[in-house]
Structures are given as C-alpha cells and as structure tokens.
Symmetry: C2
Subunit: 319 residues, 2 copies
C-alpha cells in the first residue's frame, strides 16, 4: 500500500519473475544502428512480440494463474477478451491443468477463436457489447466458480507485466527513459513500478494514439476519463484505464504523449524494415512518439517495449 | 588443401570469427514451440536476418576486407552485385575507410542503389547482363587497382560465412542436422565446413528451389551445372555454384533437396506469423523442405539458417 493505492511491492515483482520464469520467454533486446543514427539516440527494443502467444500478456496471465492457491485454482479461471489476454490466459491455465473460461464476442475473428481453442480454452460467445461481455462473464463465473482474471486491473497481472521492464533494466541498467504503449494500463503500471524499484532515475513515458487518448486525458486532468468510441489502428490500446492501474499511473508515470495514426503506421513499417521483426500496431506507438519528436531522446539511452506481434499479415496497413 | 581442393582450415575459420567480431552481430537463435509441435522436432533458427545489412553476407564481406594487408586494401575493393553482397561489401569497406566500387545493373531497384550509396559505395552502372557486369567490373578493377571480392567464390568470404554455423553449434552442440539454402554456395560451403570441424556428426543438407536447381543437379551428377534462366521467388538463390564452392559442397555436404514455390511462400508466412521475424524468401527455403517432408526431422535437433531479411514489404508473396 502507498497512500490509499494498492501497489505491488518490489519483493512481489521479484517473486513474480521467479514464479513465471518456467513458463515465459526471457525475450531478447534488439538494437538498430540505422534507427539510432536517424534519431541520434540509443534505442533498446524489448521484444515481447517474441513472447509466448506473441505478446507480453503471457507474463501477467502466468503470474495470476500460478499465484492462486490450489483451492482457488481448481475451478479454473475466467475472463472476457477477444485479444492477446484471452490466448495468454488459456495457455497459462493449460500449464496449470485447470480450465479457462473465455467470453468472446460472436464477431471475434476466426483466427483468435481458433487460437484460444488451440490452448484448450472453453469459449462462451456473447453479443459484441461491453454490457453483454460483462454480464456473460458474471454468469460464467457464477456457474463454474472460476476466478475472474481481469486483463489489466489485477495486481497479479500488473506484477507479471512489470517483469518485462525489470529484465530490460537488468540488461541495460540506468536507462534514461522507458517508452511504453498504454491501453488499459497493465503494462504501463508494471513498467512504471519496475523503473521505480529498480532504476529510480529512469523516466517512464507512456505513448498513446491520439484517437484513443483517454489515458492522456485522465493523466492530465487527474480524473479517470473513459474511452468512448476510440478510433485507432492500434487495436490493443482501445480500453480505458482501470481502478487499480490509474492511481499507479498517476503516481509513477512521468508523462503521457499522444501520436497520430500516420506516425504509428510509419513506425510499424520502420520496425519491420529495419529491425526485421513483426509487430502489431500497438507496439509501434512508442517509436511513433520519437518520430513525431514528442520526446527529447537525443543522446539518451531509451528502452522501448515492443508489446506484441499478433497482426494480420494479409492486411498490413501500408499496403 | 584437401586433395586438389582449396579448403579453409579450422584455424582459419576460428581466426575469421575473431577478425569479424567487432563488425558483425552475434545473432540470436530463436525457437518456436508451435513449429516444433507441428513438425515433431526441435528447430533452432539462426537469425542472420538480424545481421548487419540484414543478411549473413556481412560476415564474409567483413572477413574479406579485413584480411587484406594495408597495401592491398588501400586502393579499395570491387564487386558486381545488385543484392545483399553489394551492401555488405560497401559497409565493410566503410569500416576500413577504403573505397568500395560496386557494379550494378542499370535496372536495379532504387532501394538497393540507395542502400549501397548509404554505405558510401561508389556505383558504376551497366546493362543488366552477366557479360556486361563482368566486363564492367574488369574495367573498374583495371582503372582503380581495387581488389575484386567475389560474392561467394572467395575463400575469405567462405570463412566468414562459416562463422554463422560455428556460432549455432557453439550454442547448440551436437545438432543432428543443419539446413541451409544454396545459391552460389558461399553460405553452404561455410556451413558444411563448420559442421565438419566443430561437430562432425552433424549432417548438412542444402535446400534449393526446384525452379533454380542447378546446385541439386551439380551435386547429383558430380559435374558443375550452370544456372540457366532460373525462376523462383527466392531471388538470393539464382546464381550458379563456383569453382571453389562446388568441390567443397561435393565433399562436405550430405545432401541437397529441392522445394516448390508454394512451399517457400507458405514457409515464409509461417516464419512471419509464428516466429514474428521478417525474412526474405531465400530464408524460407529450408523450412519449405521440412514442410514438404523432404527431410526426416522427427525427434531430431535441427538448425536452420535464416539467411536474410531484405524483402519488399509492399509486395509480400501471399497477398
């Protein structure tokens, strides 16, 4: 506890790293001489696109599932998600050999449904509204006794996500800045806490699409602004901050900047072309902020978390 | 010397690795649980797509340029190439602060020309025929006194390319098989020699597009068959074997298999989707051989060299 907030402690994050080590990748950190030259800086890309299920979400999901005691765990876990968290939770539950109940909208892409099924997830479909998703999830939880694991507003999930920045700072101590995309704020909360505990001089700056700028507006106004009809190609960043993530972000994040859609697409292509890695649009948002000169990176050492790589390769946005 | 062949020695390859370490990346080796499960094997992908200039060619180019004595080096180096070797040689020469004279066909893509210029290469254009390229190169060499560095039929280039498999075997000793694409045979010669010297039980199998199967036919007939009107998407594999590479390949390579174009494209997409890395079509040829069941990999530990990642992202072949 810090003030009235519930905040994972340094020890809890260290324990999370130990807990999940068996079930996640310690992902590589890549550099690009071209990008460093172009922006006159030193960028260190933490490649969570190489993570299990292709996204950082595996960290939080494995930590949440393996933090349950046997009694809690035996009836399984549940969530509503059509994205990376659904796959990550299904996989984490499979590792523990417990059921994962996933509520998905009935218009979810076939490939996402198949991926969840591939990890053994038990899917309940609902209408594609937030109300339907939440009420269906409550019914599933009531019917199964499963533990709900929220995609980001969950302390164990935040602890898990913190381990990405923790690894980045272990390998590159004393970074001047870490840039991180923000959607619901799970990755951002964890990143800010990792910097606070393991490298207090490192500034954490969140990067958000201008078309989904609820975190920016919440941060600047000090009041939780909900995401209403967000519009961005960065489909991992559509959600609002949560009751747990917002206070952590207010206290531990140094700044939030917004970026244009064109910059996200240009940055995504730069990452494909110059880093030779496949990223989803959300991952390109921090480099877009560098591209737009929103952050002074000249001569600094800057970590960037590439959050995931699950993108439809048949419809890349520059084509 | 082995018999009448000129063959780089174990010590020469070890020296090459030391010589080039300052100027190349030790590239990561990635694995995919999905692909391992699908093919019931253990695949280890050596990511030369992350290499400097985006291809293994940097290894050979840096070794060749830095093996010259000061007297030889001062007038520069020269080659004809419109591909990765051109960029790699220009960059290696820039590292040594000597000129690189690159002969390119006048229909070379703008992006390749700009890349060579970006590394400071001095370009001479010629008509897009092999005869014009060779005669133009001879004129450039005569006029400048530069040393010709052949893209593959050069012992120092072969030594350099050998270091990729050497690193792979250092990190994964005793691999059962290494799969390697073959064009002119520089990477394949080096890979076969590295296996011979550092892991004698490792079989090396070359993989070639059926539409450019000159190495396959040369290997099977024992006579050097030239590549005539090859047709494949794997544009790095169009060339014929050389006078130096062919004898090394005959003696040290265990087998050569050919693959269909559809398999190359399917494998390339699998690598993008499942490994989250960007590869050029040539890099996908070995996985295509696994996909076509041309090689028995079940239960084995198999290294695959992803040769490069320079691909036109506006025209991916599955689109």
């Amino acid at each position: 506890m810090i003030g009235k907030m519930v905040v994972p402690s340094k020890d809890q994050i260290v324990s999370a790293a130990e807990r999940i080590a068996f079930g996640i990748h310690r992902t590589p950190i890549l550099e690009s001489a071209f990008l460093n030259g172009r922006f006159q800086t030193s960028l260190f890309f933490k490649c969570e696109n190489f993570q299990k299920v292709g996204a950082f979400k595996s960290r939080g999901a494995v930590n949440a599932v393996f933090s349950l005691d046997d009694e809690e765990a035996k009836k399984g876990v549940a969530t509503h998600s059509s994205g990376n968290h659904a796959q990550a939770l299904a996989r984490a539950a499979a590792l523990r050999k417990i059921p994962a109940y996933i509520v998905m909208p009935d218009n979810a892409p076939r490939v996402k449904i198949d991926a969840v099924k591939g990890y053994g997830g038990i899917i309940t479909f609902c209408r594609p509204t937030l109300e339907a998703r939440e009420s269906t999830l409550q019914k599933v939880v009531a019917g199964t006794g499963a533990v709900e694991i929220h995609p980001y507003d969950n302390l164990k999930v935040i602890e898990g996500q913190a381990t990405a920045a923790m690894e980045l700072l272990e390998e590159h101590p004393g970074l001047d800045i870490i840039l991180c995309p923000v959607g619901g704020g799970g990755l951002l909360s964890g990143t800010a806490l990792a910097a606070h505990y393991f490298s207090d001089t490192t500034r954490v700056i969140a990067c958000e699409p201008a078309g989904a700028d609820d975190a920016f507006r919440s941060f600047k106004s000090g009041k939780l602004v909900l995401s209403v009809e967000p519009k961005t190609i960065a489909d991992g960043l559509l959600t609002s901050l949560g009751k747990i993530t917002f206070p952590i972000i207010r206290k531990f994040v140094d700044d939030i900047v917004t970026v244009k859609e064109e910059s996200i697409i240009e940055s995504m292509r730069l990452i494909f072309e110059r880093m030779k890695v496949v990223v989803e649009p959300s991952s390109a948002v921090p480099l877009a902020a560098v591209l737009e000169n929103k952050i002074d990176v000249k001569g600094k050492r800057v970590g960037i978390i590439l959050s995931g790589g699950n993108v439809d390769l048949s419809h890349l946005p520059w084509q």
